[in-house]
Amino acid sequence: MSEVIVITSGKGGVGKTTTTANLGVGLAMRGKRVVLVDTDTGLRNLDLLLGLENRIMYDLIDVTEGRVPYKKALVRHKKYDNLFLLPTSQVKDKSSVNPEQLVRLCQELRKEYDYILIDCPAGIEQGFKTAIAGADCAIVVTMPEISAVRDADKIIGELNRADKESIKLVVNRIRPQMVEKGDMLDMNDINDILSIDCIGQVPDDEKVVTSTNRGEPVITLEDSVAGQAYRNIVGRICGEEIPFMDFPKDSFLQRLKKLLGM
């Protein structure tokens, strides 16, 4: 059974593309056949994060307009043979693809791949509507920040309106120290408002930036906390029960121990 998952957020800069790249690599590491579709036409980034920019020959627009079969446009990942990227165009804009075209493309991709991850553009306009059209389920990425949570709420409402039933939450860029001090929204606050199933809590990690610049998603780094968090999300997508990571914060016993100097 193949699954089409759209990764979306409403607000820009919360880590949709980073999440897409990491989950794609993570699923491929588990031997799944994965294709990543970038729908952020005109502002494409997914190829950079995967280090595949120099291998792009054709793009999404060429495929949806029927100039080439999709197989020609797919870029195979350097390390993982079963991971493919369908990049989008950097010169065209969002109006170049319509929802029907993407639905048709997803139907074709389903025949060959286990997971089709769609990287959605920010916003709730045409590009968003196109990106979610073919998806079975959605992953909403947000940050512990009121504007990001507010936009995530709006996006969940929009997804409901489009009859997407299965919506999961990933909270990105958590800074445990700030949460502990009460300077940042904690998971309870976020779950309280969004009230959807959370499948990931990713701490803020400098290694995300360095690995992005190198074009190797952080999930491949064994010693990174963010990488571990992404590996856990991949496990949960595959149906495993994985407890959430313990960030160094707020358990009563820990605070007591700290207080007693233990």
Binding site: R150, K154, N160, D192
Partner: protein
């Protein structure tokens, strides 16, 4: 969860029941009766229950209808599509709401999220939260079984006897008839259900039992 006999799904107009294959009607009826008697809050009075027209035999449908009516629940067989279209009809806001309208109730069985709006001449019952950025504008009163963080306007067409009740009442603004109260700048989560109404020409919030 697969062994549930009766599945309940919230829709835009009410609750949609579906039945797992392989159970006879007596089992189904028994299960529904238990749910009704447990008072789980699912079936409040005035809730509209729907089933797919072909889910049950005609005489079984009639039995269910009798069972539900004893608990004040409306039972209908409609195809979901027709139900959705009905909610799209926007009430005309220019018309002033009568007493009769305020006695009617719109039931919202989901969380209202940012940017979503309920606008009606009648009263509103929300089984879910009202999130920041959401709006309810009602001719009658508003009852929220959940946390209210959005903007609520009761008695929007001039009914100053209208009120707002919520399990946790912490909205951006409360408007009743032609009065407005805004939230304090430091919001605290309330432990008790509260009721906002007009007393002596201003909006007053007081805790209630429920």
């Amino acid at each position: 969860m697969n062994d549930e006999i009766v599945k309940i799904k919230g829709t835009k107009t009410g609750l949609l029941l579906s039945f797992t294959q392989g159970f006879d009607f007596d089992t189904i009826e028994q299960d529904i009766r238990e749910k009704l008697e447990s008072g789980s809050g699912f079936f409040t009075r005035g809730t509209v229950i729907q089933i797919a027209p072909d889910a049950l035999r005609k005489d079984d449908q009639a039995r269910l209808k009798r069972l539900f009516s004893r608990y004040g629940v409306l039972f209908r067989t409609t195809d979901p599509l027709a139900a959705v279209q009905k909610t799209r009809e926007q009430p005309n806001p220019d018309r002033t709401a009568s007493e009769e309208d305020a006695q009617q109730m719109v039931v919202v069985n989901r969380t209202l999220r940012g940017g979503q709006e309920i606008r009606t001449k009648s009263s509103v019952l929300v089984c879910g939260n009202v999130n920041p950025g959401a709006q309810i504008i009602a001719g009658g009163s508003i009852d929220i079984r959940g946390t209210c963080r959005g903007m609520v306007h009761a008695g929007a067409y001039g009914n100053s006897k209208a009120f707002v009740i919520a399990d946790h009442l912490m909205p951006m603004q409360i408007r009743i008839a032609n009065l407005i109260a805004r939230s304090p700048d430091e919001m605290e989560k309330t432990e008790k259900a509260e009721r906002a109404s007009i007393k002596d020409g201003q909006i007053v919030i007081e805790p209630i039992e429920r």
